[in-house]
């Protein structure tokens, strides 16, 4: 029953003991706070950095160059934008040195809306991040994946961007991380720093967690069905799962794919699903213009153009400069449960080309084998 924040914390603990993790650092990451979402409490190698995002990314690069294995945090992805040239440098370090300088580093940063964060605690970053070649990008939607993807990210020889959907950081995952106490209260007692009272000298009593790597580049199928393929991740993923369960009562079933890794993309899983359903809906909450989901749709449309029953669709955030404070503003800006349900119903029930008697003139295999 760990939360995602606890899953990340347990992974960092496992990694500092077993995977050579040398530094977890960023603003308020070390004691006494242990991170604004508590994901870095109690770690031996966690420390507070100056309040300087460029210094955080630059220093992480330097640590990795000198043989360390850092996890650097940008407190909210809303504050990562002044480091983009450094992220580009990290992404091209191996390539520009013709393979001689690799950078095993992880940058973790909370993303997205859902906590009433207003304009500067609600940004998404995946679309911009996907324009920075040389990075792997992961984005878990539950504690088990957060644990396993963090282990894989730290063990990876290349830069990995670990996007933390902040709306889900405190959500509990029913499944257990191997070694996690079955009793949720026990876990909390052992690894959560007390919120009240004198906490000087507090140390966690770490459970003996075992490695459970989630490979980078593998999506997970959360629900299986036939009427449409729904690809999502982060805050909107559980909304899609819930909608799939609801829409079952209307006789509709969906492949709900939790992408988990945004780069490299698990194309085989997407292809397999689309081959079956022939209908594609991508859901995320980044602003819609030049949205990461558009890339998925472009790739899949090129491959499946003659197979698709209906036009593929993107349900994404509105192209507005920020997410307003008042709840109706946030609700109108990024997909909510009802928007997800409606979009899924629409894509599954829209009359398709087969129904209209329109069949492709060119054999579909010609295009698939192109």
């Amino acid at each position: 029953m760990a939360t995602m924040a606890q899953g990340i914390r347990l992974a960092l603990h496992y990694a500092e003991e077993n995977l050579g993790l040398t530094d977890v650092f960023g603003e308020d990451v070390g004691p006494p706070l242990g991170g604004v979402f508590t994901a870095t409490q109690g770690l031996k190698c966690a420390w507070n950095s100056p309040l300087d995002e460029r210094g955080i990314i630059g220093t992480a690069i330097g640590i990795a160059m000198a043989g360390g294995r850092p996890v650097a945090e940008i407190q909210f992805c809303d504050y990562i934008f002044n480091t983009i040239d450094l992220l580009k440098l990290a992404g091209n370090m191996r390539w520009s040195s013709y393979g001689s300088w690799g950078l095993p580093l992880v940058v973790k940063t909370p993303v997205g809306s859902g906590i009433h964060g207003s304009i500067y605690h609600s940004h998404s970053f995946e679309s911009v991040a996907s324009h920075i070649p040389g990075w792997k990008i992961v984005c878990p939607s539950n504690a088990i994946d957060a644990y396993g993807l963090m282990l894989s990210a730290i063990a990876d020889p290349d830069p990995v961007l670990f996007l933390e959907p902040k709306a889900l950081l405190r959500a509990k995952t029913p499944d257990l991380i191997p070694g996690e106490p079955a009793d949720e209260k026990e876990l909390n007692r052992r690894i959560n720093k007390p919120v009240i009272g004198d906490t000087t000298g507090w140390q966690p009593d770490w459970p003996d967690v075992q490695p459970a790597f989630v490979p980078i580049g593998q999506a997970a199928i959360r629900r299986a069905g036939t009427n449409a393929t729904v690809v999502s991740y982060a805050r909107t993923l559980p909304l899609a799962v819930k909608a799939a369960d609801q829409l079952a009562s209307e006789g509709l079933s969906f492949d709900v794919i939790d992408l988990r890794t945004l780069y490299p993309i698990d194309m085989p899983t997407l292809r397999k699903s689309l081959h079956k359903t022939r209908r594609l809906l991508v859901i995320n909450e980044d602003t819609e213009v030049t949205n990461y989901g558009e890339h998925l749709i472009r790739r899949l449309t090129e491959e499946f153009f003659y197979d698709l029953e209906v036009p593929p669709r993107l349900l994404a955030g509105k192209d507005v400069p920020g997410i307003g404070m008042a709840w109706p503003l946030e609700a109108a800006s990024v997909p909510q449960a009802q928007d997800v349900t409606e979009a899924m119903r629409d894509i599954a029930t829209q009359p398709g080309r087969a129904a209209a008697g329109e069949w492709p003139l060119i054999p579909e295999t010609f295009f698939r084998n192109r």
């Binding site: 040398t22 100056p50 300087d52 460029r54 210094g55 990314i57 630059g58 220093t59 992480a60 690069i61 330097g62 640590i63 990795a64 160059m65 000198a66 043989g67 360390g68 850092p70 040239d85 450094l86 440098l89 370090m93 191996r94 390539w95 520009s96 040195s97 013709y98 393979g99 001689s100 300088w101 690799g102 070649p133 040389g134 792997k136 020889p157 290349d158 580049g217 780069y263 490299p264 993309i265 194309m267």
Partner: protein, 325 residues
Amino acid sequence: MATLDAARKRRIHDLMVKTRLTEETAISMNKKGEGHFWIGGAGEEAFGTCLGLQVNKGQGPDHDFLHLHYRGGPTAIAMGVEPIDHLRQMRATASDPFSGGRQFVEHYAIPEWNIVPVSPTIETQYTMAPGTALVQKRHGGHGITIVTGGDAGAAEGDFHVCLTWASRPGNELPLLIIVTHNRWGISTASSSQWSTTSLNDLATPFGIKNSRVNGNDVEASWDAIAQAMDYVRTERRPYCLQADVSRLYGHSSASGANRIEGEPDCIALFEDQLTAEGIVSRADCDAVWDRWRAQIRSAYDQIHREPYPDGTDIWKHIFAEPVRT
């Protein structure tokens, strides 16, 4: 102070000439269309050579890390970079050992000597240097991190980043922060940007010891570097050193790469000194130039037989293992 003996001075002179001729060959290649862009450290040989010769060269935290910028040629050549490899990168041949024909010239990347990849982005190296220095501080020993950059670029926040991260109380870093001051940033006069001519002074409020040296003077440079390095190595604290240098061929090929009148030439100055001291004769000097001219000429001839990278090469080394997506 005179810490340099005659043999060492001859060695420094030899390396300065080797570097200058390498740079001038690269410039002439650019003018002949045999290399798309030239930038480099012509004019910085006195300071750069003295720096390169005092580096504790090797791999890993026991040795010095170098975060150089695009005028680091004199330092790298003093450390052992050969003209032929420099010219390979100038021509962007597949045999360019630093980047396989991907980067501008003088953009070294040498893991065996802790020379981290040079980037054309000015000052970004100042954000990374604290990272290698931090690892060295924890590691102990005498390895230090050296970062270099220009005067105009010190206006970037990254220079401030470096000063902050190098001087955190209790976490002071073994970091030698160098500014090579040539009074220009492309066409922007330093005097129009800075109210001070001593950028090392910027380190003072951070409690970072600092000084300034005439980078055209070999002996002064040698001693200033030796003192700064000794402090950083033993105290495990940062030091900021400004070297006043010449920009002998202007900013880059983009501004013509022609010899600039009135800029002091550190090699000519050093030769005057060496002959006055009776360490070498004019004929000895000429012999050094002739020897390197011949060697670099044959390096230049050699690289003409070497192919450019193939277009399919772009997919190599994006990640440690090829990624399919």
